[in-house]
Symmetry: C2
Subunit: 540 residues, 2 copies
Amino acid sequence: MTKDLRIIPLGGLGEIGKNMTVFEYGSNLMVVDCGVMFPENDMYGIDLVLPDFTYIIENQDRLRGIVLTHGHMDHILALTYLLREVETPVYGTPLTLGIVKRQLEEKNLKHRADLRTLLPGEGIHIGPFKINPYAVAHSIPDAVGLVIETPVGRVVHTGDYKLDETPAGGTRTDMETLKRLTKDGVLVMLGDSTNADKPGRTETEQVVADTLDSLFADAHQQRIIIATFSSLLARIQEIARLAEKHGRRLAITGRSLLENTGLARELGYLDIPDQVLMDIGDQTVPADRQVILATGSQGEPSSALNRMANGEHRDIKVNSGDLIIVSGGTIPGNEEDVGRMLNKLFERGANVIYGALAKVHVSGHGSRDEIRIMLEAIKPRFLIPAHGEARHLHLHGQIAQEAGMRRDEIFILKNGAQWVTDGHRAWTEESLALDDVFVDGRLVGEIGEIVMRDRQRLSQDGFVVALIPVNGRNELVGEPQFVSRGFVYLRDAGDLLEAGREEVKRHYRRGSHDLRHLMENFFYEHTRSRPVVLPRFIQV
Amino acid sequence: MTKDLRIIPLGGLGEIGKNMTVFEYGSNLMVVDCGVMFPENDMYGIDLVLPDFTYIIENQDRLRGIVLTHGHMDHILALTYLLREVETPVYGTPLTLGIVKRQLEEKNLKHRADLRTLLPGEGIHIGPFKINPYAVAHSIPDAVGLVIETPVGRVVHTGDYKLDETPAGGTRTDMETLKRLTKDGVLVMLGDSTNADKPGRTETEQVVADTLDSLFADAHQQRIIIATFSSLLARIQEIARLAEKHGRRLAITGRSLLENTGLARELGYLDIPDQVLMDIGDQTVPADRQVILATGSQGEPSSALNRMANGEHRDIKVNSGDLIIVSGGTIPGNEEDVGRMLNKLFERGANVIYGALAKVHVSGHGSRDEIRIMLEAIKPRFLIPAHGEARHLHLHGQIAQEAGMRRDEIFILKNGAQWVTDGHRAWTEESLALDDVFVDGRLVGEIGEIVMRDRQRLSQDGFVVALIPVNGRNELVGEPQFVSRGFVYLRDAGDLLEAGREEVKRHYRRGSHDLRHLMENFFYEHTRSRPVVLPRFIQV
């Protein structure tokens, strides 16, 4: 048994999402975070992408626990899949565990949950690892970074963070504690790279609070509808405070907002007096005394604000004169959905304020200067840029070099890489082969590259199934039939299909039985499209 | 015959692209611009979207000509489709006509071209309309706005413009001429709304020139690879100038860049001395003396820079240490393509500079302050915000109201609207019913909503064609067979399909012949997916 520390990222490198890292020492495995990735636009039909758990399942007898840094879905939601396979304690702060518990309940997995509370300032032991969590500022409360004492040296896993000095009701990143915990040196840091291409510092949440305050102040005789992320509880707290300040009452619509605000009030993370809240659609409250807090900052089809934009929300009909504030940054890939929703809201006559027009959102991740401050504060011997696409990891590495690190002290890894250290030197060993695990409805991991490629082709040009009636001697006996969708509109394409049938018959009779190739060429020749072609011989 | 002026936008309102506007007076039609729209991400398989030409074709005997404001594809490319149907003179500046001519040649339509030169400062007559073009600053040279004298009053069509005072080799918008031409008042303005959600003024092209200059100056021992739009000739001129200034030679790669720079040099819009140019891949020029100008600022799959990112470019292999500059803003919808290309370039070790990191691109459209300056300069009686999605049109209207216009003087129109004026009042009449005309390979207008919906469904969950063998009495005689793609991977899904076959047989024998519905429910029940299901009875 080696006396090396092994760090294996299973997700979160080269992508935004499915954050998950294995720490291994001797016969002990510990995992930090267990998140999902939301599909990119060309991952057709996919609901979620999970990390590949194979290594953990194969080594579950050595698994000592999972530590969660915060309650965002890209850090926790894969737990509801992993815990079907393995039993292990899960450590997290109270809000994080509250969110996890709800997710497990929804999936009928609560009995699998051995949830254990993690609190900043209170160290815990997991096998040979001692975990010291410290508070960080992020776009969800109760987020922590981790200082991890291992037998070969100290590791810092920053989680997601920003260095917000005035987080408007939220938490500051506890740099004092972090510096104290790391004053004897840090062997390796895994650091958030998300905003490594954003210059300067990420603006403080206070500027959003100030912007919202002045928008609320100017909204005379207007109903206010405001959309934000359901996990952005500090912002939600501020919105509730502003509602009260400006003599309005707050209604909440959208499933995830109702759930998260309910949970957060219960656990004491959100302080909204009952008399500030109102039922959605309560006619006794004048419109200009209302603030409607809604899901939909990403234009998600079933979100509350998008339903309003489509005129399909049960309780809220957008009127000319409503002030609508979209208080959430657009996640890359969602631009078209958000744009369409904004267009429809404007077309309904609303006065819509979004990121291009006012500072109604700031990121929860630190920018280049904050990344540099973090590097200089803890001066790690080695750096593993984490949490970001490849460009962000490389740019994080550039910042570290500017801060004085050597190129060979910086490890730009891919998921599955095995980074190994004996406390003095560090190297990589052969990578684990990982697959993206696609969730499509009830299918988990059953949709692979082949099905995805088929969907891609079907989306472009549809398909043609050709039914070829043949007798026992494989002679053509009757008319070939085409079953097709997504290629051309069949009622308008009679000539094309008739010509196709003749082509099939002529070639088949001549003895050419590679009808797939023949038809692919025929359709391409006539349309410059390449539908999926599937000939089937029918014995009649 | 009425004595009213009628303005009918056929495209460009509520969307970015396919700009086209009909002007009609008495028995005379004139068209301004004739562009395409590039498909949104969920327009599966579509190459281009054209305006609906029906009205123009039906009234071609009254069509007196088409005026083009500039040579961007969203203002000219639909000409190669319209001119198959109608014959009419096309007016444009020399560069614009040069680009049009090349497009027509590619489509073997040159014989249809009656191209007539338009020059700023030289008015022309088209039927009852007198057109006075004036120069505008935009991201392609030789762009103009139009002052159109009509029998009922003066119209200004701004085209695309910005008010760049230091356009770095480009042209300034000629506000002096515009003011002189409009000093007796303007009845209606059609104004560019693209950046109506961008505060302040669009930055000047000079800041890009300055940024590039300092990047070039710092690029010791590095090869420089720079991607930009092939129509951004002022920037290309600047890049050539900087190459010369910094003692480098310029190679060009990518079809549209080669074509556009060739044309522009020929017509005198681009001044690159022969001795500055080099052949791509010329080994006699040291790498650190090269600037490679490439297509690919949008991450387009077949562009030169994307091929380099994929290691598939014939002449250029990206090396560690190359300086790569992506000098083009990301068009909404292209974020994922651009992001992936950047990731791959970083992974090849290049030092990549893009918009997030330095001011290497500015927009060609004026922002809110410029829109306001334009409104105040020409003080139109009526305003039709043009060229933008719905939110941009509405925000343009808001700016006009802030500048003192009344709500009822501002017309937020949709494509097909008929805006009518007698020179005093203005109103709208019943809209033309327009369809988006999809181009898919050789198919123009044959792909409609039904095929698009099928492609959408196929992309999500694939299809299952069920072949049910029946005899002359419609009795089941044998095993149903499934032909499927994009649903589940068939080799791994034997149990599901076997159960599906049994389900079909059981229900069919019981007399239930609605097999489509039955199978849809069966698959949904087992997978939560909804493939397209098509049962076919096979007489055997």
